[in-house]
Amino acid sequence: MDTRTHPMTQEEVMALFDHELPAERKEFVSSHLDQCPECDALTSQFGAVSAALSRWGVEPLPGELTKRIMESAAKTRSGVKVRAPSIFIRAGLWGGKRWALGGGIAIATLLFLVAISVPSWHRSQDSTSKARMIAQHRISVDDAAVREGVIGGASKQSEPLSTPSRVVDSNGLLHGLGDHAQNTISVDGPLATEEPSEFTSGPMIARTASLSIVVKDFVVARATLDAILVRHHAYAAELTVNTAEGSARTLQASLRVPASELQSALSELKSLGRVENETQSGEEVTQQHADLVARLKNSRETEQRLQAILQERTGKITDVLQVEQEIARVRGEIEQMEAEQKGLEHRVSYVTVSLNLADVFQAQLTTPSPSIGTRFHNGFVAGVHNASEAVLGIALFFMEYGPTVLVLLLILGFPGLFLLRRYRRSLTTA
């Protein structure tokens, strides 16, 4: 339509037809329609379309449904939960935008978690490997110290120490001397070499004791402990000292004390400070020891008989070899049983005392705290480090899992795309 000949739009003509035109324009457009056959014809077309559509009838609502709805309404009003129809659709079903928003938030959260967790995981991996390297280094360093016999209280013993063993924990940390905050000694004490005559009569009790003591002066208590060990011919099989900053110092030790001197040693240990916990227990191993001795005796006799057979009898070379193999087997058993016997007797002759020492923690008022500038600097450095670690972590994550995700996308992408297209097509026809 030309606006020069028709001073209004066609949509205004339609609005007049629909009674949607504002009053101020209504009269103007109406008067134009009276004079313009073209616009009048347009109105007629709208009328024709409306008339055509008006033939699209719908059957009346079934009376049964009316009854059903009124019954459901009555139930709903009375608070009874009405069973949803079979095609029940929630009016508040999420739309596409909300799904997209939810999915985006979920992905962002996942990325955030990955960004946080991956750097810390890498840090823990780094610290573990570093700790292992340090542990390996310290083992070689401390070997010399052990050979020189300068390991804590154990070095002051009159008895010679057997080869000490250092413990490397699951994190790769060495428990041994030289660690600033955590000193651990793990020493295998001297095995009882005496003949088992003292164990042949009377019950054999493998005793254990445990003490938890709070001391006022940790340094003095530590020195006193060493003196007690020397005085009672005891030794520390394992000893760990924790001197972490900002907390009480602690000492955990596994002591081996001669059974004959247990009571006096315990008394002196208790005098180190206030005893918080004490336990003692004993396990009778008499029968176990007697069995072991009997089996050992039998095995030795068997060995002697086999030796006699080997020396006195003659036979085929295969027979000789068979006898020698049997002797070797019996010899192995004998040595194993001897070791067991010695271990058992050592458990009886040396009581295991678990000692926990802790000093009374006193907070330091004059603890030097870093300046604000230093703290800001440290915070900034940590922030930059974390950011770089996060970026690196995300990159590593995608490097590590990217190919798998790509393969999965290739496998699932095409069916997903196909379904999505079908879904959109179905929705469009709706």
């Binding site: 077309q45 055509a52 033939r55 699209w56 009346p60 309404a73 709903t76 379904l419 709706a430």
Partner: protein
């Protein structure tokens, strides 16, 4: 034409109260008010679903669900708009959910259960061809046209319901009418001028 519009009902019975007042009474627990609203809108609402859903049983269920949703939401009703707009907004949401469900099912299983091709009461060729012509319209244009012609919503109500600007509603309605007119004028096999003349009486 079997379905009666609310306006037609109003003309016949002169209702004592407006829809909005009845809905407010309904929100306060009046069963009579709900019955009156149901009587006024049951057929228009059923027609609304019936013209958009092929299966009559599903149209019935959707009608039921819409009325129950109105009843459940009655305590929170605020007369900020006409009740008619409120009712069709609920019906529209339920219809959309239904369409998504059907489309999803069709995407996975290829089912065409409840084909969304609208059905009609009379099975004449003219009626069927009219429905075909309407089905060829662009989706939003078709919806605007149906809301205007059958639900008799104003441009503003359609705009609010479909979240479209008022001018967009007007221009799309205009476009839909002309497109439908053109489709109805097309020669066979689609309905021809003769059929249109038949419609026009």
């Amino acid at each position: 034409m079997n379905d009666t519009t609310p306006k037609a009902n109003l003309g016949k019975q002169t209702p004592p109260e407006s829809d909005e007042r009845l809905m407010q009474a309904c929100s306060q627990g009046s069963a009579e008010a709900f019955s009156e609203l149901f009587a006024r809108y049951k057929q228009p609402l059923f027609g609304f679903f019936r013209r958009r859903v092929a299966d009559p049983a599903q149209a019935e269920e959707l009608t039921q669900e819409t009325f129950l949703a109105v009843l459940r939401g009655a305590p929170h009703y605020e007369p900020r708009a006409l009740f008619r707009t409120y009712l069709y907004a609920i019906g529209f949401k339920i219809l959309r959910g239904y369409c998504r469900k059907v489309a999803l099912r069709a995407a996975f299983w290829g089912e065409r259960t409840g084909s969304l091709e609208p059905a009609g009461h009379d099975g004449t060729d003219a009626s069927m061809l009219l429905r075909e012509a309407v089905g060829k319209l662009e989706r939003t244009d078709r919806e605007i046209l149906l809301l205007r012609e059958f639900e008799e919503l104003t441009y503003a109500e359609i705009s609010e319901l479909l979240h479209l600007p008022l001018n967009t509603v007007r221009s799309r309605l205009f476009r839909a009418r002309l497109a439908l007119r053109k489709l109805l004028e097309e020669p066979a096999p689609v309905i021809g001028l003769g059929k249109l003349a038949e419609f026009e009486g």
